[in-house]
Symmetry: D2
Subunit: 316 residues, 4 copies
């Protein structure tokens, strides 16, 4: 695998979510998550959290079915971008350069082996707050909304994949991702694999797609500042008729405090808080969980909810 | 300055604290912070927090006066270590290699321009929990103590320096640190300068030493998982007669939720929580605060306590 | 004093706040505290928190100056109301019966010795949520707003009084309040006196009015569910340009976690969280603090802010 | 039912827990809950939480089987005690006066219809902190331990009963308890009934004993100050091998944030936080939940765990 003295990918940058219930999904992100709609282009709304430095992180697109469109990563430098494009092309999965969207510079498109559409870019336009959302503290991207789950930023994406190993190896080789944790079944196959690009313990995850459909989403996650934000979020989702699938509880894997809901379009959305946990060790060995160990359920003993293994988008 | 596509320093690794009240200071770290004493060598106790992967982070040494001894950094790779040693030597501040202490590999010693003793190393021995402190979750360094302020790890160090600019420039050039925020006085001088090595918004800070004494400490900080840990910590320090200097409150600069106390030996100790705030942008512009802006005090309006500018260790 | 096997006053029921900036004050209560405007009558807006069972708790009235209008208490039963009216009349401070406002039954008006207008009633109309604010859980008065400081209910009132003793004795004798804590100055006078009606540690407080003006307000307080609500509230007030006077911090007296702000009209508003602390003991001795003890400041050492002793409404 | 202008019972005062694993149970209460052992008499240890004003709240007794011994209530006054004794005797369930234990005055013994042993008293000896556990704040019973779940006080008891209606009616008639919530099955029988004595929303609960054994315990509960204490508690129980049965989550009924564990002896222990929720309304109508409504599970959608209806102590 790659040499991890440096990460060429700075962070997960944006995700396109497809929804068959555009207006309801938009209400979810704007009213319940307090995301701001930056612009509207065609059937898509571009949205950002209050402390994100770029123009947008979620592109919400009206579609026949729920699911995930393009997922983009920001490279750490122009040189890092060149290195990654070369590695992707070397894997034969590159699809060429396009103009980026809404403040995003030129973007190299590619697909992971499972068929998920991806992009990588370096150039970006920083968000400049207007009078309306200028923050009181100048080291913050925009004003604190003080409502909803107060998600500060997009955190990670968990893809379903027909072949977890093949896709994880691609993330490692092509994007320079480093594995942090994984579940190995008794049959020797990986059921899920967690990758990260810097101190965060995960940014991209692959989970087994039991349908073998391809190009499906397990969930995307946002990061609120505190566990209390997540508890409050549960009350808000309860009041607003949003399906709470699981949590609040604590994952054994990577120890995040979590809440999973389904946005009105059907996509699973997580809210995750890692506390002060960071992967500071540049040589951190991967943590592997056996089938037996996973039977213990989540950290505090709650059994992993069955729909984690039956619901993904698009629904097939 | 350096190219920030990668950081050669992985993280702040350990700090030697000097104390004229060794037993009382040891009680503070072991009983109130729930740190574990790993070993004792001569007049020094080696201590670690519950989720630190190395053998120790604090070396507590009996001394005539409070203050700071050697501060060490872990390099991200053997090659990164070589690069940094070359840079330090280039600045004429290298002092040569020594054997590392208590699980730390060979270490290159040097001093910053202000005279603070420093070391950098790559090789390290991971901590392996004994039966007594084996964690229930295998992705954790040792058992969760569930008492005190529950500090998960050492977070940062803030040095007093006669010349903030000279020392900050050294951190940037010799260690590859990147500036995140700074205070510029009306006379054009920097009053304080924050540097970081990865996603964390600061790891090393220089603050103006009004005494111009040299080699002094403003504070070291630990990272608990939640703001509630810090509120509980305040109650614990109150009950145990520890001087609470300031907080709990929120810094305007870098927005950390904080509490400052003086350990029995006189060194200032901070507990800091950053929430979900990370410096994801590889091109993050520095945030500069003017003298006028700093007059507003901390984030929620509390005036910065006067002793921040009168108390440092050693006391002179 | 009274026999405390029972409390004739069930709780502080509602407060009329006077404001010279009606629209701005209304914005504060509706947008930042998420209170609901129930009705508007003349120059007054009637407002309630999300889990209050009556029609309103705050009557906000446009006025030349900030300050407090009528403060009402709900009696525990019709018999309790009769007993209290007799006691008030016995003190010569009764002013007779009036029709209650907005769901409040007939009300007996009176004044405390300092001249604050007060009322007591028993009959009340419970709030019935409309489709718009119907809660998901039937044991809640209305839907959880999930924004602002999420104050669940009005908590207490702190009056300024020319003569703390005389007014406290009136609350004890006429309303059956029980003292919980008090500050006694070296000259033998009480500087502040805390009274409660049931398990809550205080509902009505008298503080010395240094101006000797009479009929002034120190503050009213709301109760959010958690300390985190109060920390979030501080961020919200910061973003919205509301003057944060003091906190978040913890009171030594009665140990509430607090935040004080000035609403746009100038009235001081507190947000207070008591945790699990209740006065369960029916024979709880009063806790008396000396002048010397109060010099220690608040629980965690922050000095009591000077404006606590210079700002009250109306401003004189 | 009773006239609720006053409550003759001030609060649930103490509970005797029986354990077949005395040493392990004692470790649970002392080391994990930070309760203090006040004295030892015969096979019983008397324990108290850090902010309880009496000598003890838990009497832990070595026994052949887990379960509950005597549950005592403190009357609000000598006159209230007389009234309750008369009411209990009137129900034919009185068993006469005994000397109280460890600071508790003379106590009238009785049994509820299900056979649970109970006592009521008024005279009590307040706890006076020694040098060792003297609190920094004088309005607190003893020093804040700052470890474990930081439970401030005993909160409530939930009994299993062969006949929920008969026992609930007894609590109402004999002790003057007021119902707050209840579950009514489709067959018209109550499955559980919640009673309270003052502003707290419940102090005594009866749940259906599916075994029809009699004299069994569902659980006792402690009150920590914050939800974060409960989340931390979950980590502590995980590390210490304590069976976490359910939670952390939020009850629909009475809305408490909860965690249930089994102490080593087998008794179910809850940690419950009510936030700022109090039953202020002296005429609060009972909240009744149907079988259909209960199928929705807990507040945030987690299904009620099956062992709530299969595990009680003694195990039969």
């Amino acid at each position: 695998m790659a040499d991890y003295t440096a990460f060429d990918v700075a962070h997960l940058a944006n995700v396109e979510l497809l929804t068959p219930k555009f207006e309801e999904s938009l209400w979810f992100f704007k009213d319940l998550l307090a995301m701001r709609e930056v612009t509207r282009v065609g059937d898509s709304a571009y949205l950002r959290c209050w402390d994100e430095y770029q123009q947008y992180t979620i592109k919400l697109t009206a579609s026949d079915a729920a699911g995930v469109g393009r997922t983009s990563f920001r490279a750490a430098s122009p040189e890092a971008l060149e290195r990654r494009v070369a590695a992707i092309d070397g894997a034969g999965l590159g699809e060429g350069w396009v103009e980026g969207e809404v403040g995003t510079g030129r973007t190299f498109l590619f697909r992971d082996p499972d068929g998920h559409e991806m992009g990588i870019y370096y150039d970006t336009e920083r968000y400049v707050a207007s009078d309306e959302d200028r923050p009181a503290l100048k080291n913050q991207a925009s004003a604190y909304p003080g409502r909803g789950v107060n998600a500060r930023r997009l955190d990670h994406i968990n893809f379903l994949a027909k072949d977890v190993e093949a896709n994880g190896e691609f993330i490692a080789a092509a994007l320079g991702g480093r594995e942090s944790e994984r579940i190995k079944l008794d049959n020797g196959k990986l059921a899920a694999w967690w990758f990260h690009f810097s101190l965060k313990s995960y940014d991209v995850v692959y989970s087994d797609d039991w349908t073998k459909h391809g190009n499906r989403l397990h969930h995307i996650a946002f990061a609120p500042d505190t566990r209390e934000d997540i508890l409050k979020g549960a009350d808000i989702f309860l009041e607003n008729g949003i399906h709470i699938e699981s949590g609040p509880h604590k994952h054994a894997i990577n120890q995040t405090f979590f809440l999973y809901v389904w946005e009105p379009g059907g996509n699973r959305i997580e809210f995750a808080n890692a506390g002060a946990r960071l992967l500071l060790d540049p040589d951190q060995p991967v943590v592997e969980w056996s089938e037996e160990e996973r039977k213990k359920g989540q950290a505090w003993g709650m059994k992993t909810i069955e729909t984690f293994h039956t619901h993904g988008t698009p629904i097939v």
